[in-house]
Symmetry: none
Subunit: 422 residues, 2 copies
């Protein structure tokens, strides 16, 4: 059973508009146990429509199209479906009545062109659209069932749920349930993590396990399948447990999609408070933390000590320390973390100082060199990281911010639950 999703519109294929319908439909199908094998996007060209429909009719069992059902000259789907099936078009009286009623409800005259939206290929069924003018089309071409839906997301989603899914159940195409479980990790490269999980990601492993990297965060995706949601979930359990026990502190946890969420989970668990001092990361750490709702009790505040003067005035970093070691140094990172810890009263303070680039690098201190500092009641530690001199400014900033957040997270892992004595 293979499904194909076809997105139609010149504004999509040219990249002017982002297509959110196709990923939505792919996820919706996935949850019903139907795998989308292909997405195809085409523009408003009749030959491309007919060729794409024929190809889909040949390689897929189910074809979902979105877009191209409007009243204008570049809406070609109804006609192209008829051509691909080798049949004619007829006017559907019920659809015409529904379109007329739609305009009447809004006290607007129905334009002549909207009449074309009531046309259907011979043998096709109309899919009612209670919230728009364009009815959808349900028909068979070759081996495949086609559902042509509008491109307006709300109309498409309602039509999919109310009209398409019941037809899939009637055909017994929807019986099994598929769940995707995602476990995010941070702190090692994708190839290192994969090397430790080759048994899990091997082809033919049940359940199927995929691995992806985004912005240095690595995610395992486990695909479970079963007759019920519970059974599908149960199929993933052992593999999820293997990943958790094998990668230990690298695991951000399952709810957490990234390092900041996972850190905030630890702050909530331990009841600890945090403060930040940022130089090269320029506020990203604070931004990533405060993007999370409900963090106020745990995040006391932060300083962006971008200039040397600010490091001294706002954090008490001695000017002679900066003169002797330079602003980008372990000594200054430590003094920034210590100053923030002492001035904020937080349980934990993190700091960054580095060279974000593209200018400012030297052979000894290249672009991408960042020192992190972490202060707690136990003292201050520093780490030196290199993001690589060829990385652009935003990557140096984001990755070093995430490293700092992750250091705070792994530090908190060893702390007791809120209220317990340490």
């Amino acid at each position: 059973m293979k499904a194909e999703i076809l997105s139609i519109g010149s504004e999509l294929v040219s990249g002017q508009n982002l297509d959110t319908n196709a990923p939505w439909l792919a996820r919706a199908l996935g949850e019903l146990g139907i795998a989308a094998a292909y997405h195809t996007t085409i523009g408003d060209d009749m030959d491309d429509h007919v060729a794409a429909f024929r190809l889909a009719a040949d390689r897929a069992d189910l074809v979902l199209t979105t877009g191209g059902l409007g009243p204008t000259q570049d809406d070609l789907v109804r006609e192209a479906l008829a051509k691909a099936a080798g049949v004619g078009l007829r006017e559907d009286p019920e659809s015409l009545a529904a379109i007329a009623a739609f305009f009447a409800r809004r006290n607007r005259p129905m334009a002549d062109r909207n009449r074309s939206q009531a046309l259907l290929p011979e043998g096709a069924e109309a899919l009612p659209n209670p919230i728009g003018t364009a009815p959808g089309v349900w028909m068979t071409i070759g081996r495949a069932a086609f559902a042509a839906m509008p491109g307006v997301p709300n109309e498409m989603k309602l039509m999919f749920a109310e009209q398409v899914v019941p037809r899939l159940r009637l055909r017994h195409w929807v019986e099994r349930v598929i769940v995707h479980r995602k476990i995010a990790l941070f702190g090692k490269g994708e190839s290192d993590i994969e090397a430790d999980a080759l048994d899990l990601t091997a082809r033919g492993h049940v359940p199927e396990v995929g691995i992806t990297a985004s912005d240095s965060t690595i995610s395992f995706r486990i695909r479970g399948e079963g007759l019920t949601p519970e059974a599908a979930w149960a199929q993933t359990e052992e593999t999820a447990e293997q990943i958790r026990s094998r990668f230990g502190p690298l695991v951000l946890g399952e709810g957490a999609t990234d390092v900041a969420d996972a850190l905030v989970e630890q702050l909530k668990r331990t009841g600890a408070t945090i403060a930040t001092a940022e130089s090269c990361t320029g506020g990203i750490i604070a931004h990533l933390i405060t993007a999370i709702a409900g963090v106020s009790p745990y995040y006391l505040g932060g300083v962006i000590s971008y200039s040397n003067q600010a490091k001294t005035d706002m954090l008490g970093v001695p000017p002679e320390l900066i003169r002797e070691h330079g602003a980008v140094s372990a000594e200054v990172a430590a003094a920034m973390a210590r100053g923030t810890f002492e001035r904020s009263g937080a349980d934990l303070a993190i700091s960054t100082t580095g060279i974000a680039g593209p200018g400012g690098g030297t052979p000894e201190k290249p672009v991408g060199l960042v020192y992190l500092g972490l202060a707690t009641a136990d003292g201050v530690e520093t780490r030196r990281i290199e993001i690589g001199p060829e990385q652009p400014r935003d990557i140096v900033q984001r990755r070093s911010a995430k490293q700092a957040l992750n250091w705070a997270r792994t530090t908190l892992l060893a702390w007791p639950d809120r209220g317990a004595s340490r």
Copy 2:
């Protein structure tokens, strides 16, 4: 001349991750005068790879693929290209040396699996990847030229610009030049701005003018076409001048894509320095400023005074002011801006305090209510804005941050050039 874009990865076809590469490539091709006729997305399945490559080789002249070049078992593109072309794979010594050097620069051992990334189909050329391990592949299959690029957006974009585009020029596929000139505006709604520009955005206007809104920034996009970049540019000149004169201080300027860039341009022009104090925006203002390279001389630093204690300790906001008026008040916004102005020594200080949501709103102070403060040697002013109680946290944070940046920008517009007396 038809181009096809192929996005590869089970995380894409299943809808788990949003594909931003395909729209980016479609737009980049469009600017070169090449129309993308198809996008196709497939998962990590060898048969689907080979079938999609053969189909693309048959219906397109140029095929751009992204993804599937990593070192793991589900990265199938190199092998699938060889199968689709009916050739074998060979190890490319130069690519292997580049991959080894990449790891050496990071002082990390190269995993055995990374060796597979140096494999190339017979007759193919490697496309160097200076910022990642995966080299790309350039080869001909059937009638089509294939460029296989990594899925990591930064690596893909660099490879496209430095390796693919020059090869398109060599083939004379890129001859006419299309330029898109973008003029960004901030400070009024899209419909208000559009109403004042209906003559320019009308169908058939030469050059074509589009209008888009993103995150409250409105952009006019003027499309010029010609045989040379100069001719294409000249076609846009009169329209650009009309927009500049019609919208005056709303215009962020042409280099500036958003408010922060435009503010930094004004800082450079006037030589003024700025400092920030953020509560509800939690570091976004600092982040937006420090994302811009070369801002160090102008941005002294900032404070994220997230807790009331931090407002008092770090900025000298009197506790009784917070008790009397609440942390979200014009009085506290003013005290934050004044404290930052005095403590930082900057020429201009901006502050934010508000309710980002989703919790914490009251009938008098709903979610989305934000007070801004601005302090200069002339004194302190405040503004009250409402982003609307139904907006999500990130929109409230971003829009209020941009309003604060824009206030600083428009203030600086009246200041003289650096060195001139005020």
